[in-house]
């Protein structure tokens, strides 16, 4: 028997009235709500523009070159010397003690500071030049090498943090200690959402075998910004967004009937109390209801065509894998999400780096490159800045005994390599240099704050002007530093 309609037409109208017009609400995460109506989006490939929650007045500060950012954060710190920063001198002097002059007064972690011998350790992997620009890439990353002409490899990244927690926190929030808003939250705060029905900032996590470096909610936290700017985690499984599904036994009709009654009751309360928060709340419940249909559709990759899975690799069929999250990142950007943060865990190779780094590359290389190709073929790469980075680099000397296969590499903050693609960054270039030992930056030093300034710049934001008053001080993502790396901009 179908549910009875309301007896009082005016109450029903009361209940519905709120949902029809476009509510002018503080959506932000609200937004998540919608990931809506992808059918419509598929027809119109270009990301929706025009509507949505506005950002701050005066933003963007200038014409952006990127509307979206996809940050592929390789947590644990991939080894630059084995992937992007080949060092023939190290190969020649393999096994010799690292010259003391190279290290200087650089502090080491307590994992190797007491290690008596610090022998130079050559990468066992072959490097070759790729693409028109001849970018040097290790044999471990054949797919990445295949999109070399889209990449801007920065070999001169540098940070102060020598441990994972502060280094990750610095990368995502501009400060080594907790409490600051993350990059995606700043973006959401400054620019608003590109589409009122979409979240501005979505986070996914893959990897996570026992022993992989942990992650923390703070890496996508809004810090002291309003909580609606917080990253929304998309997870694999029954509830892609927490508490999305109705409890077992509660079907769509029962939920609808409950929400109709709820809206009517809240509306009656609004007439008495006059608090605009009530109107917001009515709309938020409706958004939640719409999300219950739209989010599962968003994360359902099964309707992607075969050639897409060929591109990203079979792993993309496995929910929660890095490849699936890369493919999902593309879908999110297509739907107008501004900041997609993909974390992949397990790059912390203190031991057996040969074997483990190879495995990690096998797990990620194809999908990272596929994302770039896929965005390119959809003409989204010009508007989307893709960043691939760890939180620091690894030492040229080995950790443990050089003999055998058990050695690894310790944390190294002074230099590491990342790549960027699309979104107004110059394609097909290598930027910056390190010394013969991939130990110190010799040219183009790019601090994490500089990278953050550059990412914001691509989004049309002057990083010194996007500030928030908290505890009497105007805070910004780049703290008190950061310079845009103009040399890598197209």
């Amino acid at each position: 028997m179908p549910p009875k309609p309301y007896l009082l037409p005016d109450l029903q109208r009361l209940a519905r009235r709120q949902f029809l017009g476009r509510a002018s609400l503080g959506l932000g995460t609200a937004a998540l709500a919608t990931l809506l109506n992808p059918a419509g989006l598929a027809a119109a490939n270009p990301p929706p523009t025009g509507s949505g929650q506005p950002g701050l007045p005066g933003l963007p500060h200038f014409a952006p070159t990127a509307k979206h950012v996809i940050f592929l954060h390789q947590s644990g710190a991939p080894s630059q010397i084995d992937l992007f920063d080949p060092k023939p001198v190290v190969a020649q002097r393999h096994g010799e003690e690292m010259p003391a002059s190279v290290r200087g007064d650089q502090r080491l972690t307590t994992m190797t500071s007491d290690q008596a011998s610090k022998p130079l350790t050559a990468s066992p992997f072959e490097f070759s030049r790729h693409g028109a620009a001849g970018i040097e890439v290790s044999e471990l990353l054949p797919y990445t090498a295949g999109v070399a002409d889209e990449l801007c490899v920065v070999r001169s990244m540098t940070t102060e943090a020598i441990n994972h927690d502060p280094a990750m926190t610095l990368f995502q929030t501009g400060f080594q200690l907790p409490g600051r808003p993350s990059m995606g939250s700043w973006t959401s705060y400054g620019l608003g959402s590109a589409n009122e029905n979409l979240p501005t900032y979505v986070v996914s996590v893959s990897g996570g075998a026992a022993g992989d470096q942990p992650l923390f909610d703070r890496l996508w936290s809004a810090g002291f910004l309003p909580t609606r700017h917080q990253g929304v985690r998309l997870r694999s499984g029954r509830d892609p967004v927490l508490y999305l599904s109705n409890p077992a036994g509660v079907g769509q009709p029962a939920r609808r009937a409950m929400l109709d009654g709820l809206a009517a009751m809240n509306r009656l309360q609004y007439e008495v109390a006059g608090d605009p928060e009530i109107k917001t709340r009515i709309a938020q419940f409706e958004l939640a209801y719409r999300m219950q249909a739209s989010v599962p559709e968003l994360v359902d990759l099964s309707k992607e065509p075969e050639h897409i899975f060929d591109l990203y690799g079979g792993d993309a069929r496995r929910p929660g894998s890095y490849a699936a999250n890369c493919l999902q990142a593309r879908r999110l950007v297509e739907r107008g999400v501004r900041f997609v943060q993909v974390f992949h865990r397990g790059w912390d190779h203190h031991t057996r780096i040969n074997q483990r780094l190879r495995a990690k590359c096998l797990e990620t290389d194809q999908a990272s490159a596929a994302l770039v190709r896929d965005l390119k073929q959809r003409d989204l790469l010009k508007d989307t800045l893709v960043v691939w980075a760890g939180e620091f680099g690894r030492t040229v000397f080995c950790q443990g005994q050089l003999a055998g296969e058990n050695w690894g590499r310790d944390h190294h903050p002074r230099c590491f390599s990342i790549w960027l693609a699309g979104g107004g960054v110059r394609p097909g270039m290598t930027y910056g240099q390190t010394d013969d030992f991939s130990y110190n930056v010799t040219m183009g030093a790019t601090h994490v704050h500089d990278l953050q300034a550059t990412i914001l710049h691509c989004l049309g934001i002057d990083h010194t002007q996007l500030t928030y008053r908290h505890e009497g001080r105007d805070h910004r993502l780049t703290d008190v530093a950061g310079e845009v790396v103009r040399a890598i901009l197209a």
Binding site: G179, A248, L268, G274
Partner: protein, 984 residues
């Protein structure tokens, strides 16, 4: 009645320049105040209002004595009149009881309480209501929550691995102190310096844990010096925020840009907090030192019982040992006929004869489990059947603990306080370092135990962390290659090298101690490995007859294991010719293995010892403050960098504030006393402002974390100072401040604005209406639990693990085998229904339901939560298991006690959640909702049953499942209602 407003009240700026003038009078009134202030300081005296001593203002002249209920109202009335506003009428009694009950206890009033209050004709009914609420133990729980936000209290360390820490004893101290109305000055002193008080009680020491709630790091490789600075900075900043409302962190790297604090001020203040004997990198084993045991009363009693029981057993055992001679002699007589009775001790946990390998496995005789043998498998004939040969690649491995039968696994995963012994025959073929057996975690920690040969010497390690915390001993004697030797090691659970023995071929060896600094756990879930461990030193040679015991073997027993027969050897000696040692050895052997009375007593003793060990392990500790033995120097740090010390500084108060009195010590205790000196300009103001914020949603200073020049000026400066001086005058009686506020006419006003009010004062800064706002996350959940009847009102105790979606911790955490709090295991039963402040708080992944509703992650001190209103919240309220289960149980209550008709039941349900009777329109909506739900669930009985199984509590109702399901959806609606989650 309405008269001219005093000019002081008219203009805040003027008011403060005036009171700046009166502040100079204060110097005259309190000559001790600026005791050490020089003439120079005099000339620099700040003009900013917050740095001047609050003086008790007289009541404004403009009054409405008919409306006012207490002095608070006099100040509020003057301000609203100044803004051409008039007070709203009083809220109705139903609204008032709900507002004040939620406000003071964080729980809704019950229907009985509402009815009693409505029926109470006494003009003082409201005052009596308030007294009841202030006296309720729920008051302390309610008031603790914002204090836990300030104190950045959590159940995990916060950084990196974010493992478990235990601070619930501190949290319970806070609740008790609030319930007991501990005066705020004592509340302050105990928490900042309880450990330094003369004759400090255990509770005061635990209270000092306030400043141990900061995050702690033990990331492998991190530098202690760096984090020692961060901890001291956190304490400095948090203390400044909580007690002084100052943004002191701005002065870490340079002089404060806006407020009169220099970088020197910052480090002089930091010097008070820089004296904790802590390690910098700590917390991987639970609490970071220093900490103290914090047993509950029951635990203290039980421990006493067990200790006595143990002593009694020991007494009886000793007695039996002295009076067993006749039985011993008799047994000796029979011995000749019973040679076979003398066997190696058989109470082992594991025995690997290594006689055979089948399908790559070999059997453990005790459990029957088969252990995996990997690598080449060669067996050789030995003295005891056959033994296994190891060529560097062969290894025997038990299953990982998680896969093994729990009882066996636990017994091999010894706790640090647990005695154990291990024995094996070995046939070394090299002098290299070779592992005989090991149960240890991965390098570099190598936690666990390990027996190795190196240069022919036997090494035995009992390890917490190889790099810093272990026992390592070796024999002076050596074993020869290409011979079988019997090796036994024993450990007595003492964490000392003196508690370790090594026997070679039955002979106790002299030992050299290499390391003797074991602290913390030695337990690992890694498998036991024979012939290799985690340190890359495989065995080369033969191994046979591996045995492990969960006790210390006696020398006699070891002799038996080593293939000798020391018992018969002694018996063969004439009694009169035996040495004392031989006599004792024989008697011990007899008692332990052949005397039923002794054995029975022994079992009793073992049971008591095990119970005591379990109890000791279960006694929580609590992290506390302590001072280092010698003063640690504090330097100004250039740019705030830990490795850039500049000038040496001594502890001192910031120059802009009055100096420490001459008669207080220059330590945390002196600092705490300075903060609660009645002449301190900030402490009382900051404290009463937070209480105001708690009841009105916004403080009189709307930036409670910042009373500096960039903070908001007070809307009611005189009221703020009146309350501050009132707090001091009443002996820092915080309940009195709550009482003044909630019994005021200002608080009692209806919250609905008139159109004019709404336009003129949208944020209710001038208080011409009552407070309105969304309830705090914890209150929303607690209210649902209370309304459903599920709430378990138990005060304090360890934190609990209510429902949480599976996998949330695991997806982000490191490894449950290595650290605590890596995988969430929900509780069952009553622990699911405790008040939300008892929810286990893991900072890196806090409770998703509470976090979504706006609870902070507790990484840093939070004074104000930011308001939230998102669809994610809507999803929590609709679908989260606890909320839905609460709806289900509320439905049962509705049907059972809400009356017989739909109308009565709907009224009852609505009153239970929103506090009031529904309007006719609301009744219609609710009735229609109910009817629609009935139709849906009657058509689908299966859905009804599914729905009724959400949550652990069983469904109990005389009604049909579909009826219960329909009412559950109505209750679900009521818990989502704006009015339910709002105080107004």
């Amino acid at each position: 009645m309405v008269r001219a407003i005093a000019s002081v009240a008219r203009c805040p700026t003027l008011a403060w320049s005036l009171s700046s003038a009166v502040a100079r009078v204060a110097v005259a009134l309190f000559p001790g105040l600026f005791l050490l202030a020089s003439a120079q300081a005099e000339s620099q005296r700040p003009e900013h209002w917050a740095y001047q001593v609050p003086l008790r203002p007289g009541l404004p002249e403009l009054r409405d004595l008919d409306w006012e209920r207490n002095s608070v109202d006099a100040f509020c009335y003057a301000r609203m009149r100044h803004h051409s506003l008039t007070p709203n009428p009083a809220a109705d009694r139903t609204t008032f009881i709900r507002r004040v009950t939620l406000g003071l206890t964080g729980l809704p009033p019950t229907l009985a309480e509402i009815d009693a209050y409505l029926a109470d004709p006494d003009p003082a009914a409201s005052e009596r209501l308030v007294e009841r609420l202030l006296a309720s133990p729920r008051f302390g729980e309610r008031m603790a929550t914002p204090w836990l936000d300030l104190a950045r209290y959590a159940d995990s360390h916060g950084y990196h691995m974010d493992a478990h820490r235990e601070m619930s004893a501190w949290r319970d101290w806070v609740i008790d102190a609030l319930n007991d109305n501990l005066p705020f000055d004592q509340f302050t002193v105990d928490q900042l310096a309880g450990d330094l008080l003369p004759n400090a009680t255990p509770a005061q020491v635990i209270a000092s844990g306030f400043n141990r709630n900061n995050m702690v790091n033990f990331e492998n490789g991190a530098l202690a010096e760096e984090y020692l600075v961060e901890y001291a900075v956190d304490r400095t900043v948090t203390t400044s925020t909580v007690w002084m409302g100052q943004t002191m962190q701005c002065a870490r790297c340079h002089d404060h840009k806006h407020d009169p604090f220099t970088q020197r001020d910052f480090y002089q203040l930091l010097a008070f907090f820089n004296q904790v004997p802590e390690k910098g990198i700590d917390g991987d084993q639970g609490n970071a030192s220093p900490f103290v045991p914090a047993p509950s009363l029951q635990q203290r009693q039980r421990r006493e019982e067990l200790v006595q029981q143990l002593a009694r057993c020991d007494e009886l055992l000793a007695q039996r040992a002295t009076d067993c001679d006749a039985d011993l002699a008799a047994w000796e007589q029979t011995l000749a006929r019973q040679r076979a009775a003398i066997q190696p001790p058989a109470d082992m946990l594991l025995h690997l004869p290594l006689d055979e390998v089948v399908d790559g496995t070999t059997v453990d005789q005790v459990s029957g489990d088969r252990l995996v043998v990997s690598g080449p498998t060669y067996l050789a004939k030995t003295k005891f059947g056959r033994g296994l040969l190891f060529g560097g690649e062969t290894i025997v491995e038990s299953a990982a603990d998680s896969e093994r039968d729990a009882s066996v696994a636990q017994s091999l995963s010894f706790k640090v306080a647990q005695p154990f012994s291990a024995a094996a025959w070995v046939y070394p073929t090299t002098n290299d370092r070779m592992t005989v057996l090991a149960k240890q975690s991965a390098a570099p920690m190598l936690r666990g135990y390990c027996v190795e040969l190196h240069e022919g010497q036997v090494h035995f390690g009992v390890t917490n962390d190889q790099t810093k915390s272990r026992i390592q001993v070796r024999t002076n004697g050596t074993v020869a290659k290409y011979q079988w030797h019997h090796v036994t090691v024993t450990y007595d659970g003492s964490s000392r090298a003196s508690g370790v023995r090594i026997y070679l071929n039955g002979e106790r060896q002299e030992l050299a101690t290499l390391d003797d600094d074991l602290q913390g756990s030695i337990t690992t879930t890694q498998p036991l490995r024979i012939g290799g461990g985690m340190s890359d030193a495989p065995f080369r040679g033969g191994i046979d007859e591996v045995r492990i015991y969960s006790r210390v073997l006696t020398a006699t027993e070891v002799g038996l294991l080593a293939g000798g027969d020391p018992v018969s050897d002694i018996v063969a000696i004439k009694r009169s010719q035996r040495s004392q040692r031989q006599h004792l050895a024989l008697r011990t052997y007899f008692l332990q293995h052949h005397d039923a009375r002794f054995q029975a007593l022994g079992r009793k003793r073992d049971a008591a010892a095990r119970a005591l060990m379990a109890l000791e392990a279960a006694i929580p500790t609590s992290m506390v403050m302590r001072e280092t033995d010698s003063t640690r120097p504090t330097f100004i740090l250039s740019n705030g960098q830990y490795d850039s010390p500049a000038e040496l500084v001594a502890p001192a108060a910031p120059a802009v504030l009055p100096p420490l009195a001459t008669d207080v010590p220059r330590n945390r205790l002196g600092l705490a006393r300075w903060l609660v000196d009645p002449r301190h300009p900030l402490t009382a103001r900051v404290a009463v402002n937070r209480i105001w914020q708690l009841h009105f949603g916004t403080g009189l200073v709307s930036t409670p974390e910042d009373f500096g020049t960039r903070g908001a000026p007070p809307t009611h400066p005189q009221l703020l100072d009146w309350l501050a001086t009132e707090l001091i005058r009443t002996g820092w009686d915080t309940k009195q401040i709550h009482r003044l506020i909630v019994t005021s006419a200002t608080y009692r006003q209806a919250s609905r604005p008139t159109a004019a009010e709404g336009a003129r004062d949208p944020n209710n800064r001038w208080l011409a209406r009552g407070p309105r706002g969304r309830l705090a996350a914890e209150v929303i959940r607690d209210q649902a639990l209370a309304a459903s009847g599920l709430l378990v009102e138990q005060l304090g105790g360890p934190s609990v693990f209510p429902y949480q979606p599976a996998g949330l911790w695991k997806e982000l955490s490191y490894d449950a085998n290595e650290f605590t709090a890596q995988v969430y295991q929900p509780d069952h039963g009553s622990k699911l229904y405790r008040r939300s402040l008892y929810t286990f708080w893991k900072r890196s992944v806090p409770s998703p339901a509470l976090a979504t509703l706006g609870a902070p992650n507790r990484e840093t001190c939070v004074v104000r939560r930011s308001p939230t209103n998102t669809p994610l919240e809507a999803l929590v309220l609709m679908n989260e298991t606890a909320f839905f289960e609460a709806a289900r149980k509320l439905a049962e209550r509705i049907l059972e006690t809400g009356g017989k008709t739909d109308e009565r039941r709907l009224d009852w349900a609505f009153r239970t959640t929103a506090g009031r009777t529904p309007t006719p329109d609301e009744r219609v909506v609710l009735q229609q909702t109910l009817d629609r739900q009935r139709a849906i669930f009657r058509a689908s009985p299966e859905s009804s049953l599914q729905l009724l199984s959400i949550g652990e509590s069983p469904a109990r109702s005389a009604e049909t499942p579909s009826e219960l399901a329909a009412w559950t959806m109505v209750a679900n609606l009521l818990f989502c209602l704006d009015e339910t989650i709002t105080t107004h």
